[in-house]
Amino acid sequence: MKLAYSSEELKKTANDIRINIVESIHCGGSGHPGGSLSIAEMMAVLYFHEMDVDEKNPKWEDRDRFVLSKGHAAPAYYAALAERGYFDKEVLKTLRHIDSILQGHPDMKKVPGVDMSTGSLGQGISAAAGMARFAKQTGKGFRVYSILGDGEIQEGQVWEAVMSAGHFKLDNLTAFLDNNDLQIDGHVSAEMSVYPIREKFEAFGWNVVEADGHDVDELVEAVAKAKACEGKPTLIWCKTVKGKGVSFMENQVGWHGGAINDEQYETAMKELKG
C-alpha cells in the first residue's frame, strides 16, 4: 500500500529519520553518518509517498523494490523501515551489535523490508536493474528504486548496469544520485571526477531529472517525471549536503564514517529536535 504523506509530513519524517540515524550510530558505536544524513529526504519520499509496499507482508511479490546501492548508508535505510513499521524502533539501537539483525551494511536475509543485500559498491544498481528487467520480462507492474552514491559511480560496474538499463529501456527503474561531492578521501571532483553527470547518463539512454535532494516537493515532482517517462530509466540527480541536518557534520569529509560520542550526540539531538 502506498502512503500519501503531505509535504509537511514528509519533512517531519525526514527529520525523524535523521534523529534515528544519529541515535543508532551513537548506540552502535560506529557507522556512516554523513552519507546517511544526506539521503533522509529520499528515503522519506520513497517509503512514505512513492513505494507500493506492505510492512505487514515484506515479501509481497508484487511490491515495489528498493536497493540501497550505496549500502553504507544503511542507518538511513533502517530508520526509514522502522518508521514505516517493518520492525520496532528500539531495534535501531542495536546497529552493528553481535546479535543484531542490523548489520553494518544491509542484509536481506536478516532485516524485514530489505530487498537486496548491498555493501560492495556498484553491485546494487545491477541487482536493481535486474529486478526491473524481471518485472518487464514477467509482465509484473512493480517499480524499482535505487540510490547511488556519487563516489560509487566511479565503480566500472555502475556503467555496465547503466548501459544495460538504457539498452533494455527499463522505464520502471528510477535511480537517485546522492551528489554530496564527498567521498572518503576528499572531494569527488578532486579525487576522481565523475562529472559531467547528465551527459554521461543521457548518452547511455537515460532520462535525467535534477532535484534538490533535501526538498521533498522537488523529489516528489522528480519521481512523477520519472514515472511519466516511457522507454527510458530515470536518474534523479540530487544535489545534497553530506551530514545534512547536524551542523558540525555538514560538508565535513571526516564524517563519512565513524563514531558519535556522547557530547556530539547531545548537540546533534538538540539541533534535530529543535
Binding site: S117, S120, G124, A127, Q157, E160
Partner: protein
Amino acid sequence: MNSTREAYGQALAELGEKYPIYVFDADLSKATQTVHFAKKFPERFTNMGIAESNMIGYAAGYAACGATVFASTFAEFAAGRAYDQIRNSVAYPHLNVKIAATHGGVLIGADGGSHQCVEDLALMRAIPGMVVLCPADTEETRRCVEAAILYDGPVYLRFGRMGTPEIYENGKTCTFEIGKGTVVEDGTDVTLIAVGDMVSRAATAAKKLKEEGISAAVIDMASVKPIDEALVVEYAKKTGCIVTAEDHNIMGGLGGAVSEVLAKHQPVPQEMVGLQDQFGRSGTPADLAEYYGLTAEKIVEAAKKCMQRK
C-alpha cells in the same frame, strides 16, 4: 564424444520445459551452449553483452524476485572476474543463482593461460555456503543441472570444453546427488578420486594398474563441495592411500578438499595430479595434457608412488 558444456546446453534446453528457469549469458552463448536454451525459450534468455559483473548482478536481482537463474560464461570470467559479485550479490544473500561456467582448466586448449581458469574450484569452494559441482560426462551433467535447479541456494557448476568419454553407459549407473560421490570402479590397493575430464583418465589408469596386478578404486567426486566425507574416509580405510586428479591447481580444488577430509578423519598418504601451481599455456588439449601431466600415465605413476608411502 560429448563435452560437458554441450551436455549442459542440452540439459538446459530440456529442463527448461520442466522448470521455469531463466538463463543469462555474456556474449558466449555458442561457446557455453546456452544458445540451445536461447533458441527454445527466448523469453527467458538474456544476453548481457561482455559485462560479467553486471550479469551476475542481474541474476541476483532476478533471484531476489524469486526466480531460479543460470548465469553462464567462461570459468575465468565468472569465478575470476565476477568473484566479488558472486560473493556479495549471490552467495552472501544465499540467492538461487547457478553460476554455470564452461571452459574450466587447461584442457580447453589453444586460447592459453589467460582463458584457462585453474583456480575456480578453489575460489568458489572458499565462499561460505556455495555448492561446487564438476561433472564428468553427459548423464552426470544433466543430473548436476537438475540438482542445481532443485537446490535452494547458490551453486557453481564447472564444465569442460573438449569432448570426453561417457562414464555412465553400458550398465554403469550414475548415482550423483549433491554431497555424494560415485564409485565408478571398486578396488582395494589405491583409490583414485577425480573430477570432470579426469574421471575417464582415472578409469583408464585403473585399467592399466589392473594389468600390473594393482586393484584401484575410482571415485567420481562431482560434488566437490559439499564433498562426500564418508566415502573418502571409507576408501581411505579400505585402500590406505589416495590419488586425486583434476584439471585445476592442486591447491584448494579437489586435491585440497580431499586432503582436508583425510587430515581431519583418516590420515593416509595422498598424491595430487593436477596443475602444480602453474598457469596454463597455448597448445592442443593433447599436448597440454602431456605438458602438465594430466594423463592416465601420470595417475598410474602417482598411484604407485602413493602405495609405496603406505
